[in-house]
Symmetry: D4
Subunit: 235 residues, 8 copies
């Protein structure tokens, strides 16, 4: 069952109902959430996408699944990229040209342990077609480090701030920029960090007016929304 009108079509693949109208309806095609899906299921979806000329993107793909995917897709001469820190797998279409971007997204992270989430955000924003600036280890306790990096991203369309133990960082960044800040709490930390809950609460209570928040460790979602905002620039 594959029909396509008014953004209401989908492909019924038994345990998966692939939403084919997503790009028309929501701006970008459906992304595969890899957790809980077998490598074979992911492969089946990727193949369907490839067949339909969709630029495929999957998150939460561990190294073992990535190996299976890489082996199978290499055999088919597909172009792909696995980012092992981000745990993202991207399957390019023959037409994809990563040098043609629209809009600019900054990804700012507080510490080295926030890297996996920050990388997931970066890969997602790239998939969305944005130009991405990446800034690491600019925690609040050494304030001059952030100030030195500001010129790199004050003209961004959206800034993603990734932090686990530095729940304060988005508020501080928010005070310096004139675009939306998307705060991503991470589950990094110990003790009363409660798996990211403390960072999440701190970000929700931020006094900076331009800060919105996504789920703990949701690098993907931050990258997606930043990508949506960046994409509008060209309209």
């Amino acid at each position: 069952m594959t029909n396509n009108q008014n953004g209401a079509s989908f492909a019924d693949m038994d345990e998966v109902q692939l939403d084919l109208g997503r790009c028309d309806r929501c701006g970008f095609s459906e992304v595969i959430y890899g957790e809980g899906k077998s490598a074979q299921t992911v492969l089946k979806i990727f193949r369907k996408m490839h067949e339909l000329g969709i630029d495929g993107f999957a998150t939460r793909i561990d190294a073992e699944k990535a190996d299976v995917l890489a082996k199978e897709l290499s055999a088919n001469d597909c172009r792909f990229r696995y980012n092992s820190t981000a745990r993202t797998f991207r399957l390019f279409t023959p037409q994809t040209d990563e040098t043609r971007t629209h809009g600019k997204v900054a990804v700012v992270s507080a510490g080295t342990s926030d890297a996996p989430v920050a990388e997931e955000a970066r890969e997602t924003a790239l998939w969305c077609g944005a130009d991405v600036v990446f800034v690491q280890d600019v925690g609040v306790a050494g304030p001059h480090r952030l100030q030195a990096k500001l010129p790199l991203f004050q003209d961004a369309d959206a800034v993603i701030v990734v932090a686990g133990m530095e729940g304060a960082l988005p508020s501080v960044v928010g005070g310096y920029v004139a675009c939306p800040v998307i705060a991503v709490p991470t589950s990094v930390g110990y003790g009363a960090s409660f798996g990211g809950l403390s960072a999440l609460l701190g970000m929700l209570n931020s006094c900076a007016s331009n800060v919105t928040v996504v789920n703990i460790d949701a690098g993907f979602k931050a990258g997606y929304v930043a990508g949506l905002i960046a994409k509008r620039r060209t309209h």
Copy 2:
């Protein structure tokens, strides 16, 4: 002490340090958070703003404080608007022209009890210069109501979804639009709504990729971020 360069100026008014560089640095001028401030303090700030030609906006102004403000500002022939549902007070500059908007923001609310927060979001987006569409009572349990209203806002630059008992609504809306959705949980509800916490958690876990979240009852912040996004359209 009032100097102004590089977005670093502020007016030292004893108990208040008015941030004068906010507009340059962050896109819009500082907004007055009325909670815990006396009417006299709010008035003092409004006068300073008026003197500097800033379009003033205050939130969390109860009826009693609004009366004091209205009386004093009327005496000075100032143009203002108090929205008693939103509890916002806006002090226009002589130049303000509300018919000249840039960008379009939709405010969608689940039930009648979410009105104060939805109105706060609307007034804030208006102050940001956006054109605002307002849709009420389109809860999930009667799905046809939302579908009938979709044409009104599918072309918006940002959609704000306000809901207390219908934490599901932003996910549903997110499935229909190609712009960022800003979800605002409200403290409306009873029992296990826990003052908006349940709606907040539901929104954070939303499977729709384009949904970000702000604090419970934070109509202002949603309106502000939506305003920022809408403003970029014209760039």
Copy 3:
């Protein structure tokens, strides 16, 4: 000690007190909760049940225990079924006829990672004697998928909705059907899903009037109650 009148009998088997009056008193016989019981204990109970002509059913049986049970019961020429996704083990009586059902139950699940709980619900409803319809991957963000499947289950006696990250799904389903909806939150998810708590809270606050909720991951309980409702149809 085994007597049977007024639903008050039980078999004293040392560490287990098998409730023999359960079927008379509560509609179905006692079900074995496998967690924390050794394979030998489960076997002892199954044998007692078989001897008494009871259609046996055990949940939370991992693969290792299932192997022991299968080996022993095969040796006795018993008919059984182990569902490794659901982790349920059913021991049929010679008289059991699965084609004779009464009532209809639908099991609707949001994503592929909810499968174990959805399968547990299905097996339980089958054991209760219901006809079961199974619908997968119909999350809220792609609304047309659910609408396309509605004709399959709008005539059900009870609908079970299983979801971890899509706490919104039961509300949406509840708006389309005229029978009780039993919502089962699952512990699937990440970040602020808090092991299913967020889904649970979202389901409890559902605005759809026909939604009740069971414990996180309690596929068994949902299947049981749906089975009870379906069974009444024939009365």
Copy 4:
């Protein structure tokens, strides 16, 4: 805008979108949630319903609003009933005959302070057309009281158990009956009852297989689902 086909019609009344297809789609018409609605808004909806021949029912109507409603509706010779403990307001159609019931629902409550929620459940089940048995003050600590009352409701189609400090009661009742038990935690209690949360958790963890749960203080929802189950009996 009032059209009616396929359960998709609704009446657009500005701040309210009255779902007219609810009865066809979901088994009963829409119920008015009174919290946060003005008496005038409730009245406007009631009049629309009356005009369309719908048996109207509103919950969370405080005494003051009820006075307004009663005065206005009396003037129109409408038949209605306000239950001040339940805070429900029912507007009968001329055709309504409360003596013609289908199915039987029991409402069992633990203590006198649970009365408002128990009464809301009772009124709702009556509005659903069920015959209702009402049992009060049968807490677990005096077990003989419950046992003495069992004959009154062991043949019910559904049993609603309402309890705030006796979170154990639904489990105990569940062990005696062969129909679904709908547990309603109440916000009654002190100390570690946490506004009903402890009762809610206890009920979710109930070992009785036939217990499902609704939101704290959600007497309405329990009555509605029990009504749905009872209604099926006659099919």
Copy 5:
């Protein structure tokens, strides 16, 4: 440093300060909490106790540590008992006579998975010198099982009720006995049991007046307090 007067003496053993006055001051000697102590540290304390004629008792001793202790103490011809379910290790003095008891304690548990905690309570009460009755698998959903066992423990000095998923059990037992009931929540369960928190809250809110509560999985503490109460009988 070992002196002994007024219950204020202790043995300074570097990382351990053994409280020698505990028996005079608090009724029983100090018990060794094995978690986080090496087998050698436990052994050192046991030897000191043995030398001083104290009946030694240690909890939270895993199998590996128990092996070390058993080997060493066997070599010294000491009499001891390791209960591998309870994970308790008891080192008898030559004079200990377990047949001479004072007072009677009942340990009642809801399910088989509560066994480790129930056994810890039993061993502790035995060490306190009480006579212990042990009753298993008498959950609330099969009420006749508990009633059949009541004669075994209605004359106890204290009843310990151990339950993880049956938070209701202590309330029910409390309604049948005229002595203190000590409720022990266990961390057994799934979903919204939250590691025993739900059972704990249910027990704290019990309406039975004679129920007090100890920490989750604190079989030791329940056994100790029950032992204290039982011991008073002979005064």
Copy 6:
């Protein structure tokens, strides 16, 4: 309906089912929980008790209800005592002799704001027939105060420790006495006391082996259990 055998009788008084077998079954008669009961309902129960020769006791009786009770019962020449701090109302039988006590209970409280709960515990223990010692304001931060008072209660049968901000007190007291300590957290405090939750958790985690805990503000329950323990002394 009033029959009396085997502790299973009760008086059916419509909204109240008075448990008449409680004294035989549980050691003391039923106590009236005043919250949520009208003065008339309490009066009706008191009269029934008086008629049956039961020493009546009610908790959570505010001043207004107490006035009604006092007026009515004075008119009947009944002997009673209202403790306005404890909010308890006791209705003596003609035979009650408060000077004849059995066992000794100590009530130790941390601060002056804990007085209402401490007084409720005292009145309850008195009603149970115990001799009561009362010690106030012996917080941990001034350790010499507690040590000076120890001789007053080291021979008690049970010690009740009432504390809101001093969750540490029961642990400290527990280290000095050889009888059960019943810890009562109170809802007194501010900030992170969370209505008594912090004190409750501290008490549950107490390292003193003889400490059990009751609900926040549950002075009644602590007094009752202490009374049960004290009563056993004479057996």
Copy 7:
């Protein structure tokens, strides 16, 4: 009973046990916590202190109690100061000279609504004998404001940072100073601030190494510890 040696003396005043050795033992005399104490009790303690030459200090004194105290103490020609924002009442000894200070404490607050807690901290530090610098409204979102004020307090012995909605502020301040920072979360805020819990958690997770935390709204405790640190400077 009033004796004084080794810091172990106290005055037994019935419901209050005044700790007279506190100053010797702990550095400063006992402070009166006014909550839950009657004006008469506070007065009784103040008089005892005055008689003993102690510089008295009471917190949480509302306006009504302050009136009683002021009237009574004025009549006795005592010198005192009531700070109505801080709700503190200080009773000077004839010898007190506020101009002789030792050490320097800074009190930095985020917003105007934090004033009551900040003032309590200031009054306490003054009572401890410190010189106090007071800085207000220097929230993170306008970073230049804080930087402009730094010279005022970079040489302090301890900095107290008071913030409710700006949980990030202590981290930021901590990055600029070489002395201990004592963070005080306040209960100011809305939505997911949860009465100060979010600020508390943010402060506990601060990445600045020199930040410790006190209870929500505990201005007193912060002032006291800062006072202790400042006092050491002169040693």
Copy 8:
């Protein structure tokens, strides 16, 4: 990029921005948080520090990483110390002389399982240049043990109290000393200890005025702040 003026310099090392002005600005140099950093990254930072003559200190270094560091640094003839209980790694400069201390810090711990956190605090305070007294196993339930040790630390500049199950200990210690007490909750414990949360809450609510709190398991932060206080003594 390495410049150094006004405490604003830092070394840009790609994934790490080493804050070189920390010592001037904040009193001590930057400490390496080892969690989530590879051994190579830690080594790179250590080498930079060594080159700049900074006394290096790293926390959360597991045994495996320590082996790599030890091997590499030994090869360079560096002097270092790895404390495997504390999991800290210190890299001395040639000039470091541990016998020259300023100020005195006490580390008091409740039980043997708190050792890792207590050791981390000790190593940190040593790195800060303080003289450290170490006291173990002085829990509240055996009060004489603490009293016997008091003379060892009553003259300290700061006392660190480390406790997981004895949340009461800081309050008790606070009542005996005239310096700041820094309380460190540990994640040791079981049941309702909730990973240290209960100890944390108890410590925040401590009635002893001189107690401040740091994050769960934050031995480092406690040692750092105590070091800061001790360092001031010599000023």
